[in-house]
């Protein structure tokens, strides 16, 4: 399969986890069993109806959605569920998932919030490519539409992945403005040229969705690599003329370390999947050049 889920491994770990964590209260166990039965019934019915409708109605979209839950019987082994969703013009993958959840199976789980490509919650692996669910039109996709969690991240449940590693990398590059000097007056601005603002503009567009990191082969093989999003974040500050030379020096030192810019092999996969069109690879390349220039300075 095309996702990262090493099925057997994940499964075993999950089961072990459940065994070793606090045991479920009997009431909880009983509840889960009864619920599972009731659910199976209802879902079966809903799915049969939808499948029937799909047969005589061309206006549905067929989704195959990845399912996994470490603690629910029947979902501990990753599987794909089929959903047939009535199509409306303009419908996105996120719309279809919401419809499937609200109509067929309320346990279908995915992150989403703003619906407009700014909160960065719903980066998914859709038909083999990292995309934002809210920004991807169903009409642009071949059926069945395969929806999977982001590759190269641990799956928590269904389409939800653990983002902690991504956040850790983002925060490892001292991702905050820290000028060498600030103006004295509390109402006095730091001037910035339009050109310099333009220079960092694209890098500030990052919404932390994690699509780039998930698409990067290097990051997949090396957990320590900062990855494209974090390096782009560092670029945003290193190129900001308001911070000053000392600070820039410090930032280049961070980026030059073993797991910094030099790991990038310019495959452009991050740039290709970025939903905000940030030229990630170019930013990394530019930082490499800065680093070289910087080192030559000291010769």
């Amino acid at each position: 399969m095309s996702t990262q889920v090493p099925e057997t491994e994940t499964e075993t770990e999950a089961e072990t986890d459940v065994e070793h964590s606090e045991p479920l209260a009997p009431a909880q166990e009983e509840r889960m069993r009864k619920k599972a039965e009731a659910r199976a019934d209802r879902e079966e019915r809903a799915r049969r109806e939808a499948a029937e409708r799909a047969d005589d109605d061309e206006d549905t979209y067929h989704l195959k959605v990845f399912r996994f839950d470490p603690e629910v019987e029947g979902k501990q082994e990753p599987r794909f569920d089929d959903f047939h969703v009535p199509y409306e013009k303009g419908m996105t993958v996120l719309d279809a998932l919401i419809y499937a959840r609200d109509t067929f199976d309320s346990s279908l789980t995915f992150r989403h919030s703003c619906r407009q490509a700014i909160c960065g919650s719903d980066a998914l692996f859709i038909n083999g490519r990292q995309r934002l669910g809210c920004k991807t039109q169903l009409s642009d996709l071949d059926q069945p539409v395969r929806v999977e969690p982001l590759p190269h991240a641990d799956v928590e449940k269904d389409l939800v992945v653990d983002m902690d590693h991504f956040y850790d990398q983002m925060e490892a590059v001292e991702p905050y403005f820290d000028a060498d000097e600030l103006p004295d007056g509390e109402l006095e601005e730091q001037r910035q040229t339009r050109e310099n603002r333009e220079k960092v503009k694209m890098s500030t567009r990052c919404i932390w969705c994690g699509a780039c990191m998930s698409s990067c082969n290097i990051a997949a093989g090396n957990n320590e690599y900062l990855g494209p999003a974090a390096i782009n974040k560092a670029y945003r500050f290193a190129m900001d003329e308001r911070e000053g030379e000392d600070r820039k020096q410090h930032r280049l030192n961070i980026l030059e370390q073993e797991n910094g810019v030099w790991r990038c092999q310019t495959q452009f996969s991050c740039t290709e999947v970025c939903p905000k069109d940030i030229p990630l690879t170019e930013h990394i390349q530019e930082l490499k050049r800065e680093a070289v220039k910087n080192n030559l300075k000291f010769w």
């Binding site: 991702p175 601005e189 500030t204 567009r205």
Partner: protein, 617 residues
């Protein structure tokens, strides 16, 4: 149990600013948020931040515009605080590196916005909120402030004295979405609610799915009065199919609204003969719907917003994000064709009653940002006034909670001083299906407010946890019944049909009946997903309860206020009636039997009285 000096609920602009301010005052502060901070809906704000920064402008002018925009229902002490503090707070953001758009001289850019007498809207392209949110989160990381992200705060731990004014908040109860752990968070100094908007009460909204008004509903049920809930802003330019916002910045830069006949209707039909497209938002939203109602809409649904004449260079420089939004969410190229737009629910002017320091009438409980009502916006918020509210009042609430002396507030909270009780005929009894005292289900849907008793803070939080655990368990235990999605969407539809831009008495009453019916059905709500891992079924079920309480509060306020003021338009009452209505609509939960009351608006400023005038643009 977790313990901190100050707990901030929510991690958007107000929450982040509050946390930074509390820490600067020396407090051990933590944020508890159902979303990771960068996912917060502050990030979707586009237009800008009003601040009197330039020669020729003054905080007094900003205050005057805001008071006029509020249709004289904002409280002068709150408005003046906002306008005085905003410049300093905006430059603070600049010092934190926020990537504002720049002028040739390197200073931050400002542009015209609706209802402003000076182009004082400071902006970063058409993505000001994104830049603000990320800049502040960066500063949070720099300071190492603790964030419990993807923890859903489901209740407040408040003592249960008879009068809310005598109660104290000692913390919150939160549910770890990732693990299913329910835990208490004790706050030794204060709890700050910064939970944002409530747009999910409506079907067509610019708000995020997460904007379910949790903080307002929790505070309400804990006894804190909620204020001016009927005042809902419908933004004139949202995309028809999704509700995605098209910034007022488009009109600020010179964008023009046309009807199906190609007429510039804002002028042509006299809706706003002076300011045209840049009239206040309520005025433009009504004009658009009027055009559609008169048969001059496009597809009987929307009007056109045209920015092509601004030219590609200017559009790309200042409004680039709008091109992406129109393309991605409506399939329209804003450089080649006009964009379809219609009004969409955008902002709640009302909310948790606070003073200008962010404090509520319950000791130790604060609110800031959209969930709060100080009141800065009165009956209508001006574009560009929401973001300064976040940073100004977020900071004040954070600092005050951490012990900083901000002086005595001018605004009085709770039923103290000058207030009057109200009366209202409703077709159905609002509030709890089984008001407090009833057993079982009232607990199951979180209806019983403050059965927490007294004792030390620790005990009170502990007891709140027990109560919440019962509630969650009872929702999880049921094997059949109604699902939240059904109830939620019925209420959203009813609100969008009856409590929208145009409001009629019969419709409002119908909405109350629909909500009462939904409350009945909520008694049978159940959570189908048995999992404790990332159970969004459970979270949405809890949120739906909040939507019910707030939908009802909005509608009660709308029915009570028989006048037309700001965003609140009543078919039967077409005039602003100052002799009777220069007062705030207040609702107290009153243990499940909502009580309506009023308190006077404060028009007395620091050194001048704001005189209500005819509001024309």
């Amino acid at each position: 149990m977790y313990e901190h000096d100050v707990i901030v609920v929510g991690a958007g602009g107000a929450g982040l600013r509050a946390a930074i301010a509390a820490q600067e005052e020396g407090a051990d502060v933590a944020i508890v948020s159902k979303l990771h901070p960068v996912r917060s809906h502050t990030g979707a704000a586009e237009g800008g931040i009003n601040a009197a920064l330039r020669e020729g402008d003054s905080w007094e002018d900003h205050a005057y515009d805001t008071m006029k925009g509020s249709d004289y229902l904002g409280d002068a002490p709150a408005i003046e605080t906002l306008c005085k503090d905003s410049p300093k707070e905006v430059i603070q953001l600049e010092h934190w590196g926020m990537a504002f758009s720049r002028e040739d001289d390197g200073r931050v850019s400002q542009r015209p916005f609706g209802g402003l007498s000076f182009p004082r809207t400071t902006y970063a392209g058409a993505e000001t909120g994104h830049q603000l949110l990320h800049t502040m989160y960066e500063q949070l990381v720099k300071r190492g402030i603790t964030v419990y992200d993807e923890w859903y705060v489901s209740d407040l731990a408040v003592t249960d004295e008879e009068r809310p004014e005598d109660r104290t908040c000692h913390g919150v109860v939160a549910y770890d979405i990732q693990s299913g752990e329910l835990s208490g968070f004790r706050a030794k100094e204060g709890v700050i609610l910064a939970t944002g908007g409530l747009g999910q009460v409506f079907e067509h909204t610019t708000n995020a799915v997460a904007n379910t008004g949790d903080g307002v509903a929790m505070a309400y049920r804990a006894g804190v009065p909620i204020e001016d809930m009927e005042f809902i802003q419908f933004h004139p330019t949202s995309l028809p199919s999704t509700g995605v916002l098209i910034s007022e910045g488009v009109r600020g830069e010179g964008g023009i609204l046309y009807n199906a006949e190609g007429e510039r209707f804002m002028y042509e039909y006299g809706y706003a003969s002076n300011d045209g497209e840049l009239a206040s938002r309520d005025v433009v939203a009504r004009a658009e719907l009027n055009e559609v109602g008169e048969g001059r809409g496009i597809d009987d649904e929307y009007v056109h917003l045209d920015m092509r004449h601004l030219g590609e260079e200017r559009i790309t420089d200042r409004l680039e994000n709008i091109l992406h939004l129109a393309k991605d969410f409506e399939g329209v190229d804003g450089l080649e064709e006009p964009m379809p737009v219609k009004p969409g629910q955008h902002y709640a002017m009302g909310g948790i009653e606070t003073d200008e320091n962010g404090e509520t009438c319950v000791g130790g409980l604060y609110a800031a940002g959209e969930c709060a009502c100080a009141s800065v916006h009165g009956s209508n918020r001006l574009g560009g006034n929401a973001l300064p509210e976040l940073i100004v009042f977020g900071k004040r609430a954070g600092a005050h909670a951490a012990g900083k002396d901000l002086g005595t507030a001018e605004i009085e909270t709770g039923q103290r001083g000058d207030y009057e009780l109200g009366e209202l005929d409703t077709p159905v009894q609002p509030g709890e299906v089984e008001p407090a005292g009833g057993e079982g289900d009232a607990v199951a849907d979180g209806g019983v407010a403050a059965e927490t008793g007294s004792g030390d803070g620790h005990d009170i939080v502990e007891r709140a946890v027990v109560r919440e655990r019962e509630r969650v368990q009872s929702l999880m235990e049921k094997d059949d019944g109604v699902q939240h999605a059904e109830i939620r969407s019925d209420v959203q539809d009813s609100m969008t049909e009856h409590v929208n831009v145009f409001r009629e008495e019969d419709g409002l009453k119908q909405a109350l009946e629909d909500i009462a019916e939904a409350r009945e059905r909520y008694q049978d709500v159940f959570v189908k997903d048995p999992s404790r891992t990332f159970n969004t079924d459970l979270i949405q079920t809890l949120e739906t309860r909040n939507i019910l309480d707030l939908a009802e509060a909005i509608t009660l306020g709308a029915l009570a206020r028989d006048e037309f003021r700001g965003a609140h338009w009543r078919a039967e009452h077409q005039e602003r009636r100052d002799e009777e209505w220069l007062k705030h609509t207040m609702l107290s939960w009153n243990d499940g039997t909502p009580e309506l009351w009023y308190k006077p608006v404060l028009l007395e400023g620091e050194d001048k009285e704001y005189e209500p005038k005819i509001r024309s643009y």
